[in-house]
Amino acid sequence: MSGNAGESSSSSKMVENSQPTTTEKGSEYLEQLANEAEELRKKLDQERHKLNDIPIQQAAERLDVMGILGVKQRRILKGHVGKVLCMDWSLDKRHIVSSSQDGKVIVWDGFTTNKEHALTMPTTWVMACAFSPSSQMIACGGLDNKCSVVPLSFEDDIIQKKRQVATHTSYMSCCTFLRSDNLILTGSGDSTCAIWDVESGQLIQNFHGHTGDVFAIDVPKCDTGNTFISAGADKHSLVWDIRSGQCVQSFEGHEADINTVRFHPNGDAFATGSDDATCRLFDLRADRQVCVYEKESILFPVNGVDFSLSGRILFAGYGDYRVGVWDSLKCVRHSVLYGHENRISCLRTSPDGTAVCSASWDCTIRIWA
């Protein structure tokens, strides 16, 4: 499966992989199903087309154009020696956890730029890291196919307290705590997502449906939803019901891998970023794509997207080292933030919306406000 060596594939917690059952169902049968699905899709598109919804740009005409924002680089966090692959904010609005290709995980006070903890994982390519809601714990993992949690304290060597919570059959590409320190949601190259009980490491629910590696997941910010979204190499974004493990909606449109996905603050829409150099906005209630954020002069993949607090601004971190600042409603690029010297791998708005943070292959993390 995955290219890394030395990982046991017999763990009892393993997420089963969805392999095509070619034995009982012939390829003809599959083709027939594919055609049927295609027919249904066309019919659905026609139905949707009959609706005269206003395009978002037109609805946004009544809004003023965004003025000068004056966003500048305010902090630079230096300390990684490898490519920084992922970062996450603490809910205290100033601490940041980051992970890098050389296996290092660092906890920073972003405000003072001090490093508070640094640990070395027994693997390279630590692709995912996350802060727990209480800020007492971090989770991380990657090529080891596992998600480990580490409680943060200044008393002992925290790496000793590292505990494995989740195991996939391929690399873990993304993880996030699910509204409490008790549950963790992971996405993996084995094309599944799963929810795990942090304390016991038990699998609570798994999610089959993607036909390619999962690269990104996100949970809505408001409490009322029971859903999350995931996206990846199959170019689809899927909406899942946490309770049943069923996929309840799917969205397509991107022409290449989707690398990142973030809920709109209203919880009814989400943005995606892809290798096709575009970001897109999808509306869950309207069940369709609302907008494409693209430009002829943007040639590189989008690796991180996030919204400002109101959802008016969409920040996008690109493979061309830049952060694009988009007016999410008028669908135009407002400005560009220059600074990074290699591709941006991850981007997130701080929990109170006062800043946006980007992580890059240039080994730095930068905070913009």
């Binding site: 659905l44 008790n182 190259g189 009322t224 010297e341 905070i367």
Partner: protein, 477 residues
């Protein structure tokens, strides 16, 4: 390397427009070159950038990815002056050579060793690579030597200008492919991109997909959200004033002013302080905004107490808690919720219709494991939340309690009083009705029971009549 296809289009356009000629660099003739200045003009014309800064950035990207290279000064950032550049031959473009076997690199290095040392000598890094390759490829070294001699011979037959240009192109190609130690490798792909796999959809997957599509065709979810765009624009516009990127927060954005005072204002957990006006105003936008805020929840609970229906919010909070609780606590928590809110004659029985109640109790009894128990209360949760959103929330927004908190927040700074004091002080004109005995509360996460117990249980009911008509049962007590 699919992400590079778009930059390749730009590289092609630039190449088509470029007028290459021989430039003078001091007293040396540099053939087949173009200045940085000319390049910028080309990119501006053909790459559709917004401004010169973007054009310059696009030019650096072409440079980093090996679509052009500096003729004389290597390793420098792109300069839009008289610096001379050469456009890379498409044969050497990254997409044309996705895999570069070590053998080819060895041939290239060996070729240079065979030539004039002053002109073609190896750099330190390259010597290292060469020695490593000589070790690794020892079994085929004769072939490598033979190949390099052959290529050199062909090279010698070319015209001098062509030779110089080709040499530089080849060198630039390997510089991008084998960057010196510590230097960035702009062509490297992340692990997940090189290893990703697309699996074929299986029959089960197709069936799920078709179910989903059929369901969507039947239910037409988009009709419910007609004018979804308009709704979103309104939503965003309402919140613009709370967005620190659009409106500077008070007193200041800590990242800009280096003053952390913005964060030291009443935080989510210290509920004794008055929340800021902005924060209270947000509660008025939607019920979601209200319950998202821990103080908002408490104020709502106070309000519901005055309507004798605080069990609704407590029930809802308890369910949020169980949904995200550790596995081993699930059964215990579920039992407590059932006893407190759902069972016959429960102390704080919530008002759900019998069908929803039966569904919920059914789910509880059928739950096979903690995972199912975790979500067993779903039906009732939804029912109660809808009840709060449609019934209680509109009254909350019009209520004296909400207005009082808002006023308190607006006057924040003149009087440093907790919102509780404000709520309860404004009500003192009406005499407090007999307070209920404090009853056992369902414990909430990060609860502030200490302060809660000090609360008067009822507020004046003159302005806030108890609604029974709406099906909200008064508290059993």
């Amino acid at each position: 390397m699919p992400p590079l296809t778009k930059i390749e289009v730009l590289a092609k356009r630039v190449m088509e427009g470029a007028q290459l000629k021989t430039h003078k660099y001091f007293r040396i003739a540099v053939p087949h070159a173009i200045t940085g200045q000319q390049l910028i003009a080309l990119v501006l014309e053909r790459g559709a950038p917004d401004d010169e800064a973007e054009a310059s950035h696009l030019a650096s990207l072409l440079l980093h990815h090996g679509y052009m290279f500096p003729v004389i000064e290597h390793g420098q950032p792109f300069k839009d002056d008289g610096t001379l550049y050469r456009l890379q031959r498409p044969y050497f473009w990254p997409s044309q050579a996705e895999l570069v076997p070590d053998v080819e690199y060895a041939i290239y290095l060996n070729k240079r060793l065979l030539r004039n040392e002053q002109k073609h000598g190896l750099e330190e890094d390259e010597v290292e690579s060469f020695n490593r390759l000589a070790d690794v490829l020892a079994h085929m070294w004769a072939f490598i030597v033979q190949q390099s001699e052959l290529q050199l011979k062909q090279q010698k037959e070319k015209k001098k200008v062509d030779k110089v240009v080709f040499d530089s192109e080849e060198r630039a190609f390997w510089k991008i492919r084998k960057p010196s130690r510590g230097g960035p490798n702009f062509l490297e792909d992340p692990y997940m991109k090189t290893e990703k796999k697309i699996r074929r959809q299986n029959a089960q997957g197709y069936r799920c997909l078709m179910d989903r599509l059929r369901f969507a065709i039947k239910t037409k979810p988009w009709l419910k959200a007609l004018k979804a765009s308009d709704t979103m624009v309104t939503w965003v516009d309402q919140r613009a004033e709370f967005d620190p990127f659009l409106h500077p927060p008070q007193p200041s954005n800590p990242w800009i002013s280096d003053e952390a005072s913005y964060w030291n204002q009443p935080t989510d957990t210290s509920s004794a302080e008055i929340p800021t006006e902005k924060r209270v105003k947000r509660w008025g936008l939607s019920v979601q905004e209200l319950v998202k805020d821990p103080i908002g929840r408490q104020v709502l609970e106070t309000f519901l107490e005055s309507e004798f229906s605080s069990e609704n919010i407590r029930f809802w909070i308890a369910i949020q808690d169980i949904k995200y609780a550790p596995n081993e606590q699930i059964y215990q928590k579920a039992e407590r919720i059932r006893e407190e809110f759902l069972a016959q004659g429960a102390p704080a029985q919530v008002n759900v219709d019998s069908r929803t109640l039966d569904q919920t109790l059914d789910c509880i009894s059928k739950a096979k494991d903690a995972s199912q128990m975790r979500f067993a209360f779903y039906h009732s949760e939804e029912h109660v939340f809808t009840l709060m959103a449609k019934d209680s929330y509109p009254r909350f927004v019009r209520s004296q309690i909400y207005k009082a908190v808002l006023t308190a927040a607006q006057q924040h700074g003149t009087k440093r009083l907790g919102w509780r004091n404000f709520v309860f002080n404004m009500g003192t004109t009406k005499k407090p009705t007999s307070s209920k005995p404090a009853k056992a509360r369902f414990s909430r996460p990060q609860d502030s029971i200490g302060t809660c117990q000090a609360l008067p249980k009822q507020l004046s009911s003159d302005s806030l009549p108890v609604r029974q008509a709406h099906g909200v049962k008064p508290d059993p007590e």
